[in-house]
């Protein structure tokens, strides 16, 4: 009996196609970033969130170039005009076009959200890295500082600082919010660094004489970046929320600048008079943006966490 090798091959390949192995389909090697991207894109809420954020970035920064309105000079006589072809969302109490105002408020929300998140992340990452790597008394002191600051209501502190320093500009408000929002970042990064510092590549680097600064900037922070990136998205959402609260309480931006909280606060004064266009559109924008960043943050967390990542 002669055996046709070609036939055996055909039989084997038929077998492979017919049944999927228990461990899943074997695929070629994929990079971590591609895998992360695939996981992120596979999360429908994340895609919706990213879409909303991109929409609001375009709406706030490109929108005013397309839908051009006066946002500098008030016009008291034109206050509270109902939506029309001239003013798509009507006018506000100062006579400003409401849609244009929402765009301008959106700029402030996104600028302050990103800037304060960046400030908070930089501070938190550095503090967490130093605490985690150095350990001992330094770690103890830094973490107790974090504990103490976490025990004080953030809004309370920020209100006092805002009142004292008149946080009337985007930079001032970003600094005020950022400087008091780094605590969670610090804790997360510290936890990550505590684990990383026991890894072989860190020992190897130390053995070769690497300084602490080198370890932090070349090994620890890059390897903790996943946690940091996830946290940034939540920081942005929190900062936008906080800005809205500050604005609502009268500690936000001042004329001619505007923020959504300030707009909501003003609008509520006349809520019972039927000027719905000054309340609901801006309220919906605020909810959408904060929600979108939270969606993105949740998805990024799933993406970065290897245990939750789909293969």
């Amino acid at each position: 009996m002669t055996i046709n090798i070609g036939e055996i091959g055909e039989e084997l390949s038929t077998l492979e196609l017919a049944e999927t192995p228990e461990g899943g389909q074997v695929q070629g090697p994929r990079s971590g970033w591609r895998l992360a991207l695939a996981t992120f894109v596979g999360n429908k809420l994340a895609v919706v969130g990213a879409g909303i954020v991109i929409f609001f970035i375009l709406f706030s920064f490109v929108g005013p170039h397309i839908y051009v309105t006066n946002q500098t000079y008030t016009n008291p006589i034109a206050a509270f005009q109902a939506p029309s072809a001239k003013h798509l969302l009507g006018t506000d109490p100062a006579g400003f076009d409401e849609l244009g105002r929402i765009m301008k408020g959106g700029q402030a929300a996104l600028e302050i959200g990103f800037l304060s998140a960046l400030i908070a992340t930089v501070i938190g990452t550095l503090v967490g890295s130093v605490a985690g790597l150095v350990g001992g008394v330094v770690d103890g002191l830094l973490m107790r500082l974090v504990d103490v600051m976490l025990s004080i209501p953030l809004l309370f502190v920020i209100l006092i600082v805002s009142a004292r320093f008149h946080g009337t500009s985007v930079v001032n408000l970003s600094l005020i919010i950022g400087v008091f929002s780094w605590l969670v970042s610090a804790r997360l990064v510290r936890g990550e660094v505590l684990s990383l510092r026991e890894r072989d590549f860190v020992f190897a680097s130390q053995t070769m004489g690497a300084t602490r600064r080198h370890l932090i900037f070349k090994h620890l922070i890059p390897n903790a970046l996943g946690v940091v990136i996830v946290n940034i998205t939540f920081q942005v959402a929190d900062a936008i929320n906080l800005l809205a609260i500050l604005g609502f309480l009268g500690f936000g931006l001042q004329y001619p600048a505007v923020d959504w909280g300030d707009m909501l606060s003003q609008a509520l004064t006349w809520l019972q008079d039927g000027y719905w266009w000054t309340v609901y559109p801006v309220g919906i924008c605020l909810v959408l943006v904060v929600m979108a960043f939270n969606f993105i943050g949740d998805a990024l967390r799933d993406t970065v966490d290897v245990r939750l990542r789909r293969r």
Binding site: P76, A79, P93, T168, G250, Y255, L268
Partner: protein, 565 residues
């Protein structure tokens, strides 16, 4: 009954010698005024005149070319400890005033150096109900009666003439003792948490006595003074003043029927029919006073003190205020205000109203403002109005930028809205304004007194806390006189000082009108529209019409009110 306090402007000083930093209608008229009564009571309803029925004095006579004043007190008023209210109690008050201003001029809000009580050469009490004041100079009789003597108020000598809570009475009629007594009483007044329990504040001659005070909100309550013997014995046993953080919060409480009497903000005017459906009466009238933005003539930041010192600049700023639009705007006064151009409005009527009250010397015109500033060398450079001449007058050097800040009262919202509209018009010319909001109490306690307090000088260019309710005789002595106690921005003009001096010393009754005309022309501050003071009260609440009308002058008279059954 419940009365709503004005948000952010709750009372914060109980002792009736009130420092400038605490003096407001909310503290003096609507808080202290419930417990301690003045010798001369004003207004009469909404009218700026003395209400003799409500005054402790039954008459005043003048002798010796008005240098001798004889005040005849009624003999039916008693302190709540049973002792009679006498001329000696007024004398006690005057000694405390002398002590207060000797320690610091800022201890008495209505103080002007050289005037009361500095101008007293002697005083005496020939009997229990007659006080004789001898003055160093002859004054305009209206000024004397309606302004200077308007501050007089008897205080309970027998209960307060001491230096500790449980100490013995000491003689008050020498300045050393008076200073000790003043320091003790002012010290007690700083302890806000004790207002409801301190036995000192329980001795009153007014219709109500304080029963509680919450220092965290400035909310307070009063109970009926059962031993009140004067005009208008109270029918309502307890008056609660409720504090609010915003006019909106207050209005919501009105709609829920939880407040018996409260102010109605302009932002709620469209809800008046709704309020009426909820069983409220609503009424309003203009105050006999003025609203204005205070200029800081001492501000060194960006050389603003020198800039605002120029008349043409103040005239240009007045041209940039669009009063008709602000009054008409549905988001602002919605018609419930009238144009005002100087310290006295056209309504309510007064014999002292000047002709200038009815004529706008600087009507809204951006073009006129631009021309005025341009003529003096101001040009827009990189978007900011800049002095481009060697000097733009008053030592303003070339290159000076026209930029400053306005600190405005956070409540009611109309204050910030007016300033925003004004700043917007200024921005059209390149004047750069930064707006900041603070509460009424913060503003008057923090930013007043740039004259003696160097720390204050460079913190602000303009403040807007609202305005002033004037005396019946409306000289601006305390506000625009160089040495005026409420001259917050350090305005100083020899012609105005001379005009004020004439209002005080001249026997010519038109002198005050000339003064007011001059102030209207010189614009020591930006005079703003005069709003109606609007209030709502439950229809079940009743009383004489004038007692409700007085609210437009920031005076509450709950002792005259009662609930209909």
């Amino acid at each position: 009954m419940t009365i709503a306090e004005s948000p952010g402007a709750g009372p914060n000083w109980i002792f009736p010698v009130t420092p400038a930093a605490n003096e407001s209608v909310y503290t003096v008229s609507d808080f202290q005024g419930f417990s301690w009564l003045p010798v001369l009571y004003a207004p009469k309803g909404e009218s700026p005149q003395i209400s003799w029925n409500q005054s402790l004095a039954k008459s005043i006579s003048f002798k010796n070319f008005n240098r001798t004043v004889i005040i005849h007190l009624r003999n039916n008023y008693k302190w709540s400890n049973g002792k009679p209210v006498t001329a000696r109690d007024v004398e006690f008050y005057i000694w405390l005033l002398k002590a207060a201003v000797k320690i610091s001029p800022s201890n008495f809000g209505n103080y002007t150096p050289g005037l009361f009580p500095d101008n007293l050469s002697s005083m005496g009490t020939p009997n229990n109900y007659t006080l004789v004041l001898k003055l160093k100079h002859t004054y305009n009789p209206n000024f004397l009666e309606l302004s200077q003597l308007g501050v007089l108020e008897p205080l309970p000598t027998a209960a307060w003439s001491k230096t500790s809570l449980h100490g013995r009475d000491i003689p008050f009629n020498n300045i050393r003792n008076a200073e000790k007594i003043y320091n003790f009483l002012a010290g007690q007044s700083k302890k806000l948490a004790t207002y409801g329990t301190n036995p000192l504040w329980k001795v009153v001659d007014g219709p109500y006595v304080i029963s509680s005070f919450d220092p965290s909100t400035d909310g307070c309550s009063f109970v009926r003074n059962k031993r009140y013997t004067g005009f208008g014995r109270p029918h309502i046993n307890k008056v609660v003043e409720v504090a609010f953080t915003s006019t909106q919060a207050e209005f919501n409480q009105l709609l829920q029927g939880k407040i018996d009497f409260g102010g109605v903000d302009f932002s709620d005017l469209k809800q008046v029919p709704n309020l009426k459906r909820h069983g409220y009466a609503v009424w309003g009238a203009p105050d006999f006073g003025f609203n204005y933005v205070v200029y800081n003539f001492k501000d060194g930041t960006n050389d603003f003190g020198h800039i605002i010192g120029q008349l043409y600049v103040r005239q240009a700023l007045a041209h940039l205020q669009n009063e008709p639009a602000v009054i008409k705007s549905p988001a602002m006064f919605d018609g419930a205000a009238s144009q005002a151009y100087g310290p006295v409005p056209t309504s309510p009527s007064s014999p002292f109203t000047p002709k200038s009250a009815a004529h706008d010397p600087y009507p809204f015109s951006i073009a006129k403002a631009r021309t005025l500033l341009g003529k003096h060398g101001w040009r827009k450079v990189n978007g900011v109005l800049t002095c481009e001449k060697t000097s733009c007058g008053g030592g303003i050097p070339k290159g000076t930028k026209f930029e400053t800040n306005i600190i405005y009262g956070s409540q009611p919202a109309i204050i910030g809205q007016q300033d925003e509209a004004w700043a917007s018009n200024m921005a059209k010319l390149g004047i750069k304004i930064t707006l900041q909001s603070e509460t009424f109490n913060q503003i008057i306690s923090t930013y007043s007194d740039v004259g003696t307090n160097a720390k204050n000088r460079n913190q602000w260019g303009m403040i807007d806390f609202g305005g002033f309710t004037g005396f019946v005789y409306p000289t601006m002595n305390e506000i625009f006189n160089t040495t005026g106690s409420f001259n917050f921005g350090g305005f100083s003009n020899p012609a105005v000082d001379r005009a004020i001096h004439a209002s005080e010393y001249s026997l010519n009754n038109s002198a005050v009108q000339k003064e007011l005309n001059l102030e209207t022309q010189l614009q020591p501050g930006l005079f703003q529209p005069m709003p109606d003071g609007i209030a709502a009260w439950k229809k079940s609440l009743s009383g004489p019409a004038y007692s409700f009308a007085a609210e437009s002058q920031y005076v509450l008279e709950p002792n005259l009110w009662y609930f209909k059954k």
